[in-house]
């Protein structure tokens, strides 16, 4: 009797582990249009209304829990922001004349293609789910293919770049954040135009790395990083140019390397986003 119980227990364990490994291998090997992916999208489609309802119902509890954390950080942030306001005010006064010049030059050079994000037909969406692990930096949003959302479309919020759409069903889409380990965004330093690739530092959602920046180029703390948005005909970037990504916080000077690593703090607070915008069409696109 005891032996039978042991055998049964081991058989169940072996079967479950084998099933998991088969699923993992099959899922990893198949394309995004494969059967398991389709099944997953089906489950997501079924769960999404429940998820959306729960998201709304549980918002007060979420806000209450978030309030404690926010209060702790509020004082520190207030002091930092006061300093920032003072320095930005000085910069803004100087910047106004630069903006006027910039508008005139753009008109002259016919660079109006890269105007505001409204030309990209943004679709607003509410965040209805979030991955709990540091390994998958993903969000689920309540807009899908029925709202014009497609895979690979850029996602932004009021502060800057958030990520891109990686999976879509009729009414829900999955957004992979710029802090996910699969993410890579071609970017440049706004002031100097120095190019690089923004990649995440896994495990720290508040740190991105601007890699492949030549050691010869000088990058300074506080500089803004924006999307480079290549406009070449064959390899057009997924992200439009000029979307703010973050600001430089630290530069690792590695004398022996050709490239330096620039640490960037994203402008968008990726842990607490409630609403995002999906840029559903390229500027001037049909």
């Amino acid at each position: 009797m005891y032996k039978q119980t042991v055998r049964r227990r081991r058989a169940v364990l072996g079967l479950l582990v084998a099933l998991s490994l088969i699923l993992l291998t099959a899922y990893f090997g198949e394309s995004a249009g494969g059967g398991l992916h389709a099944l997953q999208r089906g489950v997501l489609q079924v769960l999404s209304p429940i998820q959306e309802g729960a998201n709304r119902a549980l918002k007060p509890f979420r806000d209450l829990a978030g309030w404690f954390g926010d209060t702790l950080h509020a004082r520190d942030q207030r002091d930092k922001l006061r300093k920032q306001v003072r320095s930005l005010r000085t910069e803004a006064i100087g910047g106004q004349s630069a903006v006027r010049e910039n508008v005139q030059l753009k008109g002259l050079l016919r660079l109006d293609r890269s105007a505001s994000l409204t030309t990209y037909h943004p679709v607003s969406a509410r965040v209805i789910g979030r991955s709990p692990t540091v390994w998958y930096q993903t969000l689920n949003i309540d807009r899908g293919s029925s709202s014009g959302v497609r895979v690979d479309q850029p996602v932004v919020d009021g502060d800057g770049l958030v990520g891109k759409v990686t999976s879509v069903t009729g009414g829900v889409a999955q957004v992979t954040l710029i802090t996910d380990h699969t993410s890579g965004v071609s970017a440049k330093v706004a002031d100097t135009g120095v190019n690089g690739i923004v990649q995440p530092a896994v495990g720290n959602p508040n740190d991105l790395l601007l890699d492949f920046v030549s050691a010869k180029n000088r990058v300074v703390k506080g500089e803004a990083i924006v999307t480079a948005g290549s406009r070449a005909n064959k390899l057009e970037s997924l992200f439009p140019p000029g979307i703010p990504i973050g600001s430089v916080t630290k530069v690792d000077a590695q004398e022996v390397n050709l490239f330096q690593r620039v640490h960037v703090t994203p402008y968008a607070d990726l842990r607490t986003i409630d609403f995002v915008q999906v840029l559903t069409r390229p500027a001037g696109g049909g």
Binding site: S20, L21, D207
Partner: protein
């Protein structure tokens, strides 16, 4: 409805509700930069209360649901949660822990196993990104946060499953106390 059918139904509802609450609420509350993870705690509680086979089955089902709801690599969470559910179940079967604080220790261990398990599997699957020490810090903070909520989660799971549990360690301990430490058989 038979007891096993009722148990299956309750476990399925528990798993579904836990995953939805996790995704829609708990994951969106950041504590020191991380959020609590209910899934390993629920699976651990089921293992600790119902044994190794229900624990492993719950782990498999809940892992599948988490991976599907979040469109993540199917099978990764299942593999990790099976180990947690089975391990907690075996602990109950071999050691029969009856101390009130057992779920806290086992909850912390389950969360650590989940955090490390995810890391190992991600590396095996070929994550191509620099890993910072902050990853270790995040795992430790998640363990600390989950340790705090382990007992309430265990209590909720226990309350839900108690009517169907054949042999609950705490009830057994209470019975032993009220009978002067003697089992009903030896008294007779």
């Amino acid at each position: 409805m038979s007891d096993s059918a009722q148990m299956t139904l309750r476990l399925a509802i528990l798993g579904l509700v836990a995953v939805i609450v996790q995704i829609a609420a708990v994951s969106q509350v950041s504590i020191f930069g991380v959020s609590a993870d209910l899934a390993p705690l629920v699976v651990m509680s089921v293992g600790l209360l119902a044994g190794s086979i229900p624990g492993a089955l719950m782990g498999f089902g809940m892992g599948l649901l988490v991976d599907s709801a979040l469109v993540e690599t199917l099978g990764v969470s299942s593999l990790i949660y099976i180990a947690i559910g089975y391990g907690a179940g075996r602990l109950r079967e071999l050691r029969d822990p009856a101390h009130t604080l057992t779920p806290i220790a086992v909850g912390a261990a389950a969360t650590a196993v989940a955090g490390l398990g995810f890391s190992v599997i991600q590396f095996l699957l070929g994550v191509d990104a620099p890993v910072s020490w902050l990853l270790v810090r995040d795992i430790l903070v998640t363990v600390a946060v989950n340790t705090i909520i382990a007992l309430p989660v265990y209590s909720v799971v226990r309350r839900l499953l108690m009517p169907l549990l054949p042999d609950d360690p705490r009830r057994r301990r209470r019975r032993a106390y009220t009978t002067g430490g003697l089992s009903p058989i030896s008294r007779a």
